[in-house]
C-alpha cells in the first residue's frame, strides 16, 4: 500500500473532524510558535550585541580597580581605589603594544542650559579617550591636551544631551552650560553612537577634561584614579599581548606577591560580549523549556485524540482487516494520521511564530532574526511528537483482533 494512499486515508479521516483536529494540534501549534518567536527574538538580540561590540572595536581593554569576582562583571565604583595616575602613565609609556590609554572618571550631574536642564553622566577624560573609543566629533573639537593641562572649563556633549538641552539639529558649539554652578563652554559634539548592548544610550553623556573633573566636579585630584582606564591595543592581534603586559606591569607596580590576587581587573570586549551572550542564553534555555512543555502537552493531546479515534473506528479497522489489511497497514494508517496532525500543527506554528516575532519586533523595536535551521528543527520536532505520541494508539489499533474489531458496536 503506497504512502500516498495512506496519506489520503489520513487526511480524509482528519477532515471529518476539522474542529477536533484543530484543537488537538493547538498544543503543538503553541509550542512551535513559541520556539520560533523566542529564537527569532533571541537571535536578533544576540546579533545586535555582536554588532555593537564589533563597532566598538575588539582591540579595547577596560581596566578597573578591585578584584575579579567569579565569572562576574564587577563595577569600579564602591571598590577600594587601587589604580593610580602613575599606573596610567606607566601603561602609556612602558607597554609597547598599547596605542593609547585614557582614564575615564564618571559622575552623574545635572547640566543646565539657558532654557533647559538635563541630568546625565559626566565623564572626566583625556584626549586619548576619543581615540581609544574610536569616537569622532560631529561638530567642534574634542578635548585637547592643553585643556587637560590647564584644567579648562570646556565640555563635549553627547548627541542626546544636545537634543535635550538645545533641541534637535541645534549646534551648541560656543554656548555655555553650567554644572554645579560652574560655567563650561561647549567645544564639541560627539558623533551619535547609538545604544550599548545593554540598551544604555551611549550618547546620553558629556565629557570634560579629567583635571577639571577632579577639581570642579568630584573633589581633589589625589594619587588615585577614581574611575576606569580605557586602553586601545595597536591591533586586534596585540590585544592579548597588551592585556598580559599590563597585568604584569600593574602587579609589579602594586607589589603583589605570587599568591596574591590582582587588586584590579582587566577585561577585553570579547569577555564582556560573552557575558552578555550568557544572559541571552539563560533566557533562551528558559523559553526552550516552556516550548518543550507545550510540545509535550501537545503530544499528549494528539495521543488522547488518536486513542478516541481508534475506539470510534474499531469497526472500520475490523472491516479493513477482513479485507486484507495487515497489522502494519493499520499501524501506518494511524501513525500517519498522528504525523499529519502534528506536522500540520508544526507548519501552522511556524507561520504563527514568524508572524508573532515580526509583530513583536515592530511593536517593541526589537531586532528579529530567523534561522532556517531553527525552522527545520521545529518542523522536525513536531513530526517527532507525532511519531512518539501516535505510536501507542496506532499499535493498539494494529493489535486488534479482526473478529473483535468487527463485532465492536
Amino acid at each position: 500500500m503506497s504512502l500516498y494512499v495512506t496519506l489520503r486515508i489520513a487526511l480524509r479521516a482528519l477532515s471529518r473532524n476539522r474542529l477536533r483536529s484543530f484543537l488537538t494540534t493547538l498544543g503543538v501549534i503553541i509550542g512551535v510558535a513559541a520556539v520560533i518567536t523566542m529564537t527569532a527574538i533571541g537571535e536578533g538580540a544576540k546579533a545586535r550585541i555582536q554588532a555593537a561590540f564589533a563597532s566598538m572595536g575588539t582591540n579595547m581593554l577596560v581596566i578597573s580597580p578591585g578584584s575579579t569576582t567569579l565569572g562576574g562583571v564587577k563595577g569600579g565604583s564602591g571598590t577600594m581605589p587601587s589604580l593610580t595616575w602613575d599606573d596610567l602613565k606607566a601603561i602609556q609609556r612602558d607597554v609597547p603594544s598599547v596605542r593609547a590609554a585614557a582614564a575615564v572618571l564618571r559622575s552623574s550631574a545635572s547640566i543646565v542650559s539657558e532654557t533647559n536642564n538635563w541630568s546625565t553622566s559626566i565623564q572626566g577624560t583625556a584626549p586619548e579617550y576619543f581615540d581609544v573609543r574610536n569616537w569622532p566629533m560631529s561638530s567642534g573639537s574634542a578635548i585637547t591636551q592643553s585643556d587637560v593641562d590647564t584644567g579648562a572649563k570646556v565640555i563635549v556633549l553627547g548627541q542626546t544631551v544636545v537634543d535635550q538641552l538645545f533641541g534637535r539639529n541645534a549646534d551648541p558649539v560656543g554656548q555655555t552650560v553650567r554644572i554645579r554652578q560652574v560655567p563650561f563652554t561647549v567645544v564639541g559634539v560627539a558623533a551619535k553612537k547609538g545604544q550599548s548592548p545593554m540598551g544604555q544610550d551611549y550618547d546620553d553623556t558629556a565629557f570634560v577634561p579629567q583635571s577639571t573633573f577632579a577639581q570642579k566636579i568630584q573633589g581633589g585630584l589625589g594619587k588615585y584614579l577614581q574611575g576606569t582606564i580605557f586602553v586601545s591595543a595597536k591591533s586586534d592581534a596585540d590585544t592579548g599581548r597588551a592585556q598580559d603586559s599590563i597585568e604584569a606591569l600593574l602587579r609589579d607596580r602594586h607589589q603583589l606577591r605570587q599568591n596574591e590576587d590582582n587588586d584590579f581587573q582587566i577585561r577585553n570586549l570579547a569577555e564582556i560580549a560573552s557575558a552578555q551572550e550568557e544572559g541571552t542564553k539563560t533566557m533562551t534555555t528558559l523559553l526552550a523549556s516552556v516550548a518543550a512543555v507545550s510540545l509535550l502537552v501537545g503530544g499528549i493531546g494528539i495521543m488522547n485524540i488518536m486513542l478516541v479515534s481508534v475506539t470510534e473506528r474499531t469497526r472500520e479497522i475490523g472491516v479493513r482487516m477482513a479485507l486484507g489489511a495487515k497489522p502494519r497497514h493499520v499501524l501506518a494508517q494511524f501513525l500517519i494520521e498522528a504525523l499529519v496532525l502534528s506536522i500540520a500543527g508544526g507548519i501552522i506554528g511556524i507561520a504563527l511564530g514568524v508572524g508573532l516575532a515580526i509583530l513583536l519586533g515592530k511593536r517593541f523595536d526589537w531586532p528579529v532574526l530567523f534561522q532556517p535551521q531553527v525552522i527545520l528543527v521545529a518542523a522536525g520536532f513536531s513530526g517527532l511528537v507525532g511519531i512518539v505520541f501516535g505510536l501507542y494508539p496506532a499499535r493498539k489499533a494494529s493489535e486488534l483482533d479482526p473478529i473483535d474489531a468487527l463485532r465492536h458496536e
Binding site: M1, V5, R12, A13, R16, R315, E316, G318, V319, R320, M321, A322, L323, G324, A325, K326, P327, R328, H329, D401, P402, I403, L406
Partner: protein
C-alpha cells in the same frame, strides 16, 4: 480435491471457567469448489463462529483447517490477512461499507491492500460494480444508497479480489424479501464461475437457493444434505440496474 477441509475443529470460549462455551464442539466438514452451502441452525448454535473460523477471521482452539490444501489453523496475523485478501471475500449482514468513502473506493479496498496499482484498481472496481448493476452509482456514498444497493456494493467488494470463496453471514438479514432475492440471484450466479459460496441464514426460503444445507446445533453439524437448488428469479420492476 476439497477446497475446505475441517478436521475436529473446536472453538471454546472462557475455557476452564464456569462460563465455558463450546461454540464449536469438534466440527469436521469438507466443501468442494463451486458449491453453494447454506449453514442453518438456531440462534447461538455456532453458525457465526463456524463462519469466522472458515473465513480466517478467528482461529480455532484446536483442530485442523486445510484451505485449498494449506493448513491455515496455525497461521500468524500477517499470513491470515494475506489469505483473506487473496482467496476470501466477505459479505456481512450490516454491509460494513466504510461511510466516508464512495462505492468505488469501498470496492477498491481489497485491491489497495493487495498492492494493485491505482489505475488497475479503479478499472477492476468499476467492472465489479458494473457486474452488480451499480455502474452509475460508483461515486455515491453508502448513505446515498438503499440497503439492497449497499449489499450489492459489498458483493462487488467481495468479488473484486477474484476470491475462491465468498463468506456471507446472514447477508439478507437486513433486507426485504425482494432485495433478498436479488442478492441471492447474484450469489447463485457465482457458482458457474467456480466461486464457492458459504452463507449463514436462519430463513428456510433463503437456504432453498443453496445446493447444500448444513444444520448446526450446539456447536456440531447435525444435518448435511445436497439438494436441487431453487433458482432465484428477480422480477423486473422499476428498479434500475445499470
Amino acid at each position: 480435491m476439497a477446497l475446505i477441509e475441517l478436521e475436529q475443529i473446536y472453538k471454546i470460549y472462557n475455557a476452564g471457567s464456569d462460563a465455558e462455551v463450546r461454540a464449536l464442539a469438534g466440527v469436521s466438514l469438507s466443501i468442494a469448489p463451486g458449491e453453494f452451502v447454506a449453514v442453518m441452525g438456531p440462534s447461538g448454535s455456532g453458525k457465526s463462529t463456524l463462519m469466522n473460523v472458515l473465513g480466517c477471521l478467528d482461529r480455532p482452539t484446536s483442530g485442523r483447517y486445510l484451505l485449498d490444501g494449506k493448513d491455515v489453523s496455525r497461521l500468524g496475523k500477517n499470513e491470515l490477512a494475506e489469505v483473506r485478501n487473496r482467496t476470501l471475500g466477505f459479505v456481512f449482514q450490516n454491509f460494513n461499507l466504510l461511510p466516508r468513502m464512495s462505492a468505488l473506493e469501498n470496492v477498491e479496498l481489497p485491491l489497495v491492500y493487495a498492492g494493485v496499482p491505482a489505475r488497475d484498481r479503479k478499472q477492476r472496481s468499476s467492472e465489479a460494480l458494473e457486474l452488480v448493476g451499480l455502474a452509475k452509482r460508483q461515486d455515491h456514498h453508502p448513505n446515498q444508497l438503499s440497503g439492497g444497493q449497499q449489499q450489492r456494493v459489498a458483493i462487488a467488494r467481495a468479488l473484486v479480489g477474484r476470491p475462491k470463496i465468498i463468506f456471507a453471514d446472514e447477508p439478507t438479514g437486513n433486507l426485504d424479501s425482494r432485495t433478498s432475492t436479488e442478492v441471492m440471484a447474484m450469489l447463485q450466479a457465482l457458482a458457474p464461475t467456480g466461486i464457492t459460496v458459504a452463507l449463514v441464514t436462519h430463513e428456510p426460503d433463503i437456504a432453498e437457493y443453496a445446493s447444500r444445507v448444513i444444520v448446526v446445533k450446539d456447536g456440531l453439524i447435525v444435518r448435511d444434505e445436497q439438494r436441487e437448488a431453487r433458482r432465484a428469479v428477480v422480477l423486473e420492476t422499476g428498479e434500475e440496474h445499470a
